[in-house]
Symmetry: D2
Subunit: 158 residues, 4 copies
């Protein structure tokens, strides 16, 4: 089986980024944990985002890049950039967060569509060669996730 | 000690109300649990609001009225009525929720000011005669709260 | 409906009692929370006993007496008084704990049989007149229990 | 730095073992998770043992061997093999559990002494070459532990 290269992110705005915003291409060599959320999604607020924070705390930046992406596909007027900025502040999210770019047709934003995400929270693990290795919709177990990320970190790049 | 009558609510808009909106005066004879929150306050989302839902489920409507009040005192642009409507939908809040009316001077809305609330979440227990009997800022213990509300329910009205 | 008087406890040994051991008769005028457990019952250790501790902490001794009763109906050799003493010490249980007296026939001890308990944990609420008002097998909700105990505390004795 | 070889276990009795009991020597090639506990230690019952079960569920037997060891250093009369057998049954522990052999002098059993354990719960990670790689007393984070075990699983044996 050949693994697919993760589609590049389509971003209308970044939060928590100083200087040049990251791209998946620029992160080659690191494991990327892409956490797709909506600020008014209860499963994201109580489960996915705290887990993303734990990942960012546990693994060093030099090995693992945690990227949040705000993939709004419903209640668009309720989850604007102004609201998201306050949300990021109040929930003390420190990792880079991208706003997924609106789609041309319909409510699904572009990165969400490119990855074929079914909803939020979605977790995507991208290996050091830029390939999607895991795509998970819904709640994930901490121990399993810790093991999976660690194995991607130590995996040799061919 | 004479107990003070709870100040009437200043409301710019109601959610989850069909027909005539409630007033504290119209609720005399019932215990009122007033839960003040902001939709982007983590302690409200993970603690206070789920607890308010449990109160509304446990005690019959005929004895206890649970009222939420959205007392926005920071990030006003981020917590508009449009955003609140989506929040109420996503978090499946079913009890009546009032939007606290903007203050004339400064960021503190009127009901919040009238009660001297220090922040969110704040829980106010109002007895069957309309008097404030408890004012609590922050996390509250379920068992203690169950006991306090029950005692107000069975307390004779003099 | 006439309520039944709670059967007196059959006790082979008390822990956490100085002086005269309590009887239900001697506790008339207080609400009694009788918590039946086995030291090797997971639902008791993680749920029932911590809840009994919270009850004992919340309600004053003058209103509510929390009594534990070790109703061993299986693995009798594994849950002797020696083991129970260490268990009480390690789990920092401070309320009075009775060892239920062995039955004449079969594994069910006497108090357990007299109350018709189905297993552990079982919670029995006894009102100030000594009558059983609630008999619950399994996990109980904190808020509901707080409300029920409070109502028994303030209920007039006829 | 040269890593020390993990001392062999001193065992007076095994539970959950059919046929030949395991030794650390016989487990070379696998990662061994050694979980030292006492059946009346609250931190073991509510934290350590459920975590050991999660490890045993997550990682395949062919990669990771989870071994419990009952290192009784206090209340010896309260935690006999009879009591432990019932405990293992009630808590549905399925992985092999060793009873640590009594020490010649004093209350500390032999394996506990050989490893210099400070108390329970203690977690020891042993790599595929039989060397101690982690020695942790107290609560451990699931994600971190998942990552550490995974890295030992994929580490090349030199």
């Amino acid at each position: 089986m050949s693994l697919s290269t993760a589609p590049e992110l389509s971003v209308s705005r970044w939060f928590n980024v100083d200087g040049e915003p990251p791209t998946l291409a620029s992160l080659r060599g690191k494991v990327v944990v892409l956490h797709a959320f909506q600020m008014l999604c209860p499963g994201c607020v109580t489960g996915g985002l705290p887990q993303a924070k734990r990942i960012a705390t546990l693994f060093p930046d030099s090995d693992v890049a945690v990227i949040g992406i705000h993939t709004v596909f419903e209640h668009h007027d309720a989850m604007t950039d102004v609201s998201l900025a306050a949300f990021i502040h109040e929930y003390r999210l420190k990792f880079p967060i991208a706003v997924d770019q609106s789609g041309d047709n319909g409510p699904i934003p572009r990165t969400m569509a490119a990855y074929g995400m079914q909803g939020t929270p979605t977790l995507i693990l991208i290996d050091r060669q830029g390939r999607v290795r895991r795509h998970a919709f819904g709640a994930e177990d901490d121990m399993r996730l810790g093991a999976e990320i660690a194995m991607l970190v130590v995996e040799p790049v061919k």
